[in-house]
């Protein structure tokens, strides 16, 4: 599978705290990748660097064969990246329908009613994000991603604090996007849900990353088991 997004050997320090020393991430077209790691391991930082939302201290980001020393989200977004932060992608100033229409007008995409039906927010379209529950907001954000039909979707902790049914909708949508050729990366701690939904597992620990292969291969990795899963 072709790599759409490659984050190459990036490092990041916040004050005195070195979060990432040499972390890498490869996002293959048509695959869902889980980026796992303990709290504070640097998953979100790595995802933000990959999305161009924050600058790394060093390292490179390659997106669709273009190399960026300082990637910026608005530039990557024009080329097909969609970044779903861990909260508040959609603004409270506009209704869900208005914001989906913004995505549709900018990038073409499908029908608002279709993606709303797919993500189960048809009856919430004329409400503002603050009027929705956490799970509904997550699904509304995913509806925006579906309309965008991105080449790469980076979702930071999309499963956090949502009901099992909402998690199922999210997983289904990630799989759907991957089937269309999108490279999907999700972070989180919901191990059973993530292991069911993804094709590859990347472990972020001690400032670096390890590509552990398929979920089955990752589950058999003793250090990952001992230090993250805690199953050993």
């Amino acid at each position: 599978m072709r790599d759409v997004l490659v984050v190459d050997c990036v490092g990041k320090t916040y004050g005195d705290r070195r979060v990432l020393t040499a972390a890498s991430l490869r996002c293959a077209a048509g695959a869902v990748t889980a980026l796992l790691g303990r709290n504070g391991a640097g998953k979100s930082t790595l995802l933000k660097i990959a999305a161009g939302w924050i600058a790394p201290d060093y390292g490179l980001v390659h997106f669709r064969d273009t190399r960026f020393v300082r990637a910026r989200l608005h530039v990557l977004a024009q080329q097909g990246l969609f970044y779903l932060p861990d909260h508040d992608l959609l603004a409270d100033s506009f209704t869900i329908r208005q914001q989906l229409a913004l995505v549709q007008r900018r990038f073409g995409g499908g029908s608002i009613d279709d993606v709303a039906a797919t993500t189960g927010i048809s009856d919430r379209l004329d409400q503002r994000p603050r009027e929705l529950s956490g799970g509904e907001r997550r699904r509304a954000e995913l509806a925006a991603a579906l309309l965008r039909a991105p080449a790469c979707l980076l979702a930071d902790e999309p499963y956090r604090g949502i009901a099992p049914h909402d998690a199922e909708v999210l997983s289904h949508t990630f799989r759907h996007l991957a089937r269309t050729g999108c490279a999907v990366v999700v972070t989180g701690h919901e191990v059973p849900t993530l292991m069911d939904a993804v094709d590859r597992v990347v472990w972020c620990t001690a400032g670096t990353t390890y590509d552990l292969g398929t979920p089955a291969e990752a589950s058999g990795e003793w250090r990952f088991q001992r230090e993250y899963l805690g199953w050993a």
Partner: protein, 104 residues
């Protein structure tokens, strides 16, 4: 440079107009407070002060967009914060021009 959608642009322009009004009211209030020292407050300001007020309103517009979490949505739509600053600055520049014209 990619411009925001007309829906967002309209909202930014309206907010910037209010921000300019608020900034001008604060300026007038500060003028009233200083009136004892500097003389009676005046509606007109020096050209460089008018430009500074417009730039300040532009910056406030950007901060307001960030406060409303619109910057991330805009970035995902391929829009940086520069157009937001320029759009927020525009009504203030026009209004300062009108004030200068009326006052002269």
């Amino acid at each position: 440079m990619m411009l925001p959608d007309p829906v967002i642009t309209r909202a930014l322009l309206v907010r910037a107009a209010f921000l300019w009004l608020g900034t001008r009211v604060l300026f007038a209030f500060a003028g009233l407070l200083a009136a004892g020292v500097l003389g009676p407050p005046s509606l007109t300001v020096a050209p460089h002060t008018a430009i500074a007020i417009a730039c300040l309103v532009g910056a406030l517009g950007v901060l307001d967009a960030r406060r409303r979490h619109e910057h991330l949505l805009l970035a995902n739509l391929g829009v940086s914060l520069w157009p937001v600053w320029i759009i927020s600055l525009a009504p203030a520049l026009i209004a300062e021009g009108v004030v200068a014209l009326v006052a002269s």
